[in-house]
Symmetry: C2
């Protein structure tokens, strides 16, 4: 039996998969996995090193750390899946980017213009403001902006229990009738993804840094519109050209400029597409 015949036999063995979608996904997975091993002439030692790496990646996962998502992020798979699922959006709509591992549901509701800073570690005060709009430029009132970001230390609240309050730099804001929103916060900072595990070692082995460009996360939703998971990036940040998880999109980069009171202002409108079910009407 030669190499291709072996692959064919494995694929044939999957023919009895009851669920057609599972069959399709597993058949493609086997074909690509085998093609990889054949193309690089994978050695016995490399095969074993790879399995050990995957084992350690699984064993590094805890309730608050997902090393496989980190691996997917750093291999660009997360951004690719994002494109596959959301890449067909209207070009006028705000572009999505990856969720990342630090989202925590249940952030506190905060008023228009309120601050989400609950702990001062020296971040530069900033205001995020703008409007949520339809493709046609009409305001979307009552849209929910669920937002989270890191502190000046580089850490998210979820990474620093006992230091930052759990809800620091997290909040859910509603737009006013004219679509406007306003969030008082601090300027986000670049930060390295957790690099003390197998993914960090892989980055080092491939000559890559672990840094993400500075950004604020937001999941924006409104009745009748497609929810968008996105970032706002700081144009002054390092790593915009080499974000380690391939999350930067040119259309999401904004300036943080000093306002009259010395507080930085970042203006960013968010454009939502109608939900698919609405469009079918």
């Amino acid at each position: 039996m030669d190499e291709q015949e072996l692959t064919d036999e494995v694929v044939a063995r999957l023919a009895g998969t009851p669920d057609p979608r599972v069959r399709e996904v597993m058949t493609s997975l086997v074909a690509h996995l085998h093609a990889f091993a054949r193309d690089v002439r994978l050695t016995d030692g490399e095969w074993l090193a790879g399995l050990r790496f995957l084992t350690e990646t699984g064993q590094t996962c805890t309730d608050t750390r997902q090393e496989f998502i980190l691996l997917s992020d750093t291999l660009g798979l997360s951004s690719l899946v994002d494109l596959v699922n959301h890449g067909a959006s209207d070009a006028a709509a705000t572009e999505p980017t990856i969720l990342g591992p630090f989202y925590v549901p249940g952030s506190p509701s905060r008023e228009f213009g309120a601050s989400m800073v609950e702990y001062d570690d020296g971040g530069e005060p900033a205001v995020l403001r703008g409007r949520v709009l339809t493709i046609d430029g009409a305001p979307v009132g009552g849209a929910l902006i669920d937002t989270w970001q890191n502190a000046a230390s580089g850490f998210y609240a979820v990474q620093q229990p006992g230091v930052q309050p759990a809800t620091n730099l997290r909040g859910r804001f509603l737009t006013r009738a004219d679509g406007s929103y306003e969030i008082r916060t601090v300027r986000p900072t670049p930060y390295p993804i957790p690099a003390d595990g197998p993914v960090g070692r892989l980055l080092e082995q491939t000559g890559r840094h672990p840094w993400r460009a500075a950004h604020v996360h937001a999941i924006v939703s409104a009745a009748g519109f497609a929810t968008v998971t996105t970032h706002i990036f700081d144009r002054a940040s390092d790593y915009l050209d080499s974000d380690t998880v391939f999350g930067v999109k040119e259309s999401l980069i904004r300036d943080f400029t000093p306002g009259q009171d010395g507080v930085l202002v970042c203006e960013h409108d968010i454009v939502l597409e109608r939900a698919v079910l609405e469009r079918a009407d």
Copy 2:
């Protein structure tokens, strides 16, 4: 940025990998991983389910269980890597097959014709015999046959601590000057690979059984020859056509036939290739 541009950017980011072989392997891995996600239009939910499956596979591994090797085995990757690394052997040489997860180094040395049965659980008595030969048919004296197999219960000694003695059905045998070997044992039995973890669930989801065809393992080595890791399969076994790890090779199937004393006899010659360094002389 479209899907192909994203893949290209990830590949470009790997260009700084110091070790050329790591660069080659990682570049191919990213290309195939991305092609898989694009080809099947992997959904957000499938992506997350896949990462959860890999996480659980890693967390199922212990000192005595390697669930990622099991996954590799059942996806045919282990057999493929075996072919990639050892498939170019002389057609006259004994074919290799996978090592499997149950090999334990340091089996006891046993005399020609000695039994490796240390615990009786009702297996059918059997004798394995034959010669270790060169490609030209000359005997290889002093060749080491490091062998292991399961008991009638279906389990290897390493899987049943406290029931089977640790060295039950394991032994290292040397060939005599005429190349002959003789091993008293019991007939091996088909057995399911451990199916109570994520790999077992995947087999079930793809409509596959977890059974391996009955076999005896051997690693055969001799000074000046390439070591071969192989099996002897019992022709009367079920699952020869559907071995769940794709380990069966037609050339390794042998009859277990009743001898004069009622003990089963399995005759199997093992043909070794000269080691590459020897051939270069």
